[in-house]
């Protein structure tokens, strides 16, 4: 370590003011502080001691919470590949290998493109490189379909980081969740590429007889337009012959089904939620209220009735699509969520409510959670405005009484 430190000290003058690589100071600083927590001390006046936490550690905590989803996702990509190509007997190692080959490049492209842009902006704007992208760079692959072309991952990441974040001033200033911006970009820019069989990686192999790339959400949306069917029966019937029971409730809860790399498993998301809540890195209020909002809206629709999708049991809403992943990792983003404690409840509940509403009443966009979170990202400042106004009003009333 001493050697490394010595080497860094040796090249440091080149990056400081007047040095030959002065322009790249912030890139250098980012790497230096990554290797060695800096030796800066607190000022003469004010707090002489500081908490041991910093943004890097906080971001790392969130990444660790995503690891169960990532690992499960890697296995699941392989597992679904072999099921869809009729090789159900494939071993665990083979599945992991297929998963790694498919997922790792997506992760690398996401981090490579995103961090590259961060460093360029830091250099030109002369500000330190922020840690925000460490989390975003992992979130983006997890919400990508396994069969996505890599250039689309790169393009979506670039769009999200430049337009979604840097245009607003960087980490802490963005209005909308960066990873969801990437996903929404693909969704609207390449709608044909992000549907159909993209949810399962087939590769060169031929799909088995009877294979279909339908998702639970599209099955439910179809059921809504035909009469006399029941969504649950439809889901249970799906996959007969090649992937029996893939859309049964318990299987969907476990997440052993086609879908985005990291978001199929409700169970893994809940493990992530536990880590976030235990470490305090994510707001439990947001996580709980999204689930409560979605479930309550589902129940309400069941009571009202109308078509098969509306009458789908409310608890199915919690395990299909990306609701769990969105609730745990996307809605909790502290920058784009509501920032007041009361506001977090309202924000979360409305995300849940809108997710179900969009799913059920807007079959063109079955993935409701993404749109619901982006919508509420935009409204979060308004929610906060009312919560803060209430605080001001209490203060004023106290004065006049």
């Amino acid at each position: 370590m001493e050697f490394l430190k010595h080497q860094i000290e040796k090249i440091k003058p080149h990056f400081e003011k007047g040095g030959k690589w002065e322009k790249h100071y912030y890139s250098f600083e980012a790497l230096e502080t990554f290797l060695f927590a800096p030796a800066t001390t607190n000022g003469i006046k004010g707090s002489q001691i500081r908490d041991a936490i910093d943004l890097k550690r906080l971001m790392m905590t969130v990444i660790i919470a995503m690891v169960p989803c990532l690992l499960f996702g890697i296995w699941n990509v392989g597992h679904q590949h072999f099921l869809a190509t009729g090789q159900a007997a494939a071993g665990f190692g083979d599945k992991i290998w297929v998963g790694i080959v498919q997922v790792l490049p997506i992760v690398i492209v996401s981090y490579g493109v995103g961090l590259g842009i961060e460093f360029v902006f830091a250099t030109f704007r002369r500000h330190p490189v922020n840690e925000g992208f460490l989390v975003t760079g992992m979130l983006i692959p997890l919400v990508m379909p396994p069969d996505i072309p890599l250039w689309q991952v790169g393009l979506a990441t670039a769009f999200a980081v430049i337009i979604g974040k840097e245009a607003f001033g960087g980490t802490g200033m963005n209005v909308m969740n960066v990873a969801l911006t990437a996903r929404a970009f693909l969704y609207f820019a390449y709608p044909t590429d992000i549907s159909g069989s993209v949810w399962t990686y087939l590769g060169d192999a031929k799909a088995v007889a009877g294979y279909s790339g339908a998702t639970p959400l599209s099955i439910a949306a179809d059921a809504a337009t035909t009469t006399g069917v029941d969504v649950v029966t439809k889901l249970n019937e799906f996959g007969a012959g090649w992937n029996e029971g893939v859309f049964s409730f318990s299987n969907m809860f476990m997440g052993i089904m086609p879908g985005c790399i990291g978001e199929t498993s409700t169970l893994m998301c809940l493990i992530g939620a536990l880590i976030l809540i235990a470490t305090g890195a994510g707001s439990w209020k947001v996580i709980v209220s999204v689930f409560v909002g979605a479930y309550a809206m589902g129940l309400l629709l069941n009571v009202i009735g109308g078509n098969a999708f509306v009458e789908m049991p409310a608890h199915y809403h919690l395990v299909i699509g990306g609701l769990a992943f969105g609730a745990v990792f996307m809605a909790t983003d502290p920058v784009t969520a509501s920032q007041t404690e009361t506001g977090k409840w309202i924000y979360g509940i409305l995300i849940g409510v809108f997710t179900v509403l969009i799913r059920v009443f807007n079959p063109a966009y079955p993935e409701g959670i993404m749109l619901a979170i982006l919508l509420m990202n935009v409204f979060a400042p308004l929610i906060d405005y009312f919560v803060v106004s209430a605080n001001k009003k209490r203060r004023l009333q106290r004065a006049t009484v």
Partner: protein
Amino acid sequence: MGKFIRLKKGFTINLAGKAAPKVVETEQPETFVIKPTDFYGTYMPKPVVKEGDTVKAGTPLFHDKKHEQVLYTAPVSGEIVEIKRGEKRKLLEIKILADKKVEYASFNKYSVSDIANLPVAELKNQLLSSGVWPMIVQRPFGVVADPSVTPKAIHISAFDTHPLAPDYAVLYKGQDQFFQVGVDILKRLTSGAVHVNTHSTSEISTVFSQVKGAEVNKFSGPHPAGCVGVQIHHLDPINKGQVVWTISPAGVIQIGKLFLNGIYDASKLVAVVGSEVKNPQYYKTYTGASVKKFIEGNLTQDHVRVISGNPLTGTAIGKDGHLGFFDQQISVLPEGDYSEFIGWITPGERKLSFHRAIGLFSFLSPGKERVVDTNTHGEPRAFVQTGIFEQVTPMDVLPTYLLKSILAEDIDEMEALGIYEVIEEDLALCEFVDVSKHKVQEILREGIELIQHS
């Protein structure tokens, strides 16, 4: 008759090196310093002594152009050896080389029964001319009290929850009579009540529990329960246009001594504390004392930071600095100017944190005393994490929004969000727990300066 208020939010920083309940009398330091910069709200302090003058304890050293009747006087007798000025001839320090034995300037002496009949003007006059007055701090803004104002209440916090804080039972032992007289006098200066705010869990010194004529309130909960601003917020909050005074028990006792003994007695007990102090204990000295005598030979190592006050709100003064006017604590902490290999992720039960993020385990053993150095543990960033400030602010105030309104220099917004209710110490914990390492106290003072001069 007082209220009992339970506070839940907050965080008590449990540091190693608390003072043993032992008072030591040593040789007094040679020099004493009064720093006009300790007093907020003064804007053009003007010295009334010259270098070479001799002064007694209670002789005026300077006054401020804003309130010329408030005199800032010498804590000890001796010779003025230095009047230090900074940029634009700003008065920074007046240094006194102390006599071996303190001589006191004499003020009027009264008996307890006299005091009850003294006119308020005369009371104020004695307080103003003796140098005791600046102990009275005015809210909003935490400035030296304006003598022409009658506050709606006077608050005295009778306990200190700051890290390594001195125990008031030791600090004010046996001062019952002076405290009582001080409270009697303060009661004449306000239109409302005098509140003595005590801690419910620790044993309350008879100085506070037996006091008559004051509302004795009880508070429970972690730091910042001992901050008088938090107490005011729950007892009788400050609204726009209202004025409240606060004073430490030390100030109340000084008032008592001034009237009963006819002297400005600036003697005080100072706790010398911190993980780097060999024998953390109390020393008897005077306001503005040089800290050299108390720490010389009393440190376990040399690479330390000496702080006048507590580690959350204090000022680093160096090994031969002087005690601040209001401070009754000298904290010595290890200096944190080292870099740590991948220090942003290395786990450690040793690292003190309010948070529970990966690798930070200090929440598992909250009762353990810890050694904390002055490292920032991270770099400044934009606001990212939310809801943390609220967890350490037991007031109906939204610290993040208040700070952002100050950064935006939006005065109406600052006012609406409650800047009148807080000073630095009330939000100091926010600075400690901040993930993004903002200088919360500095920002808050900038806001206060802005709103005062607008």
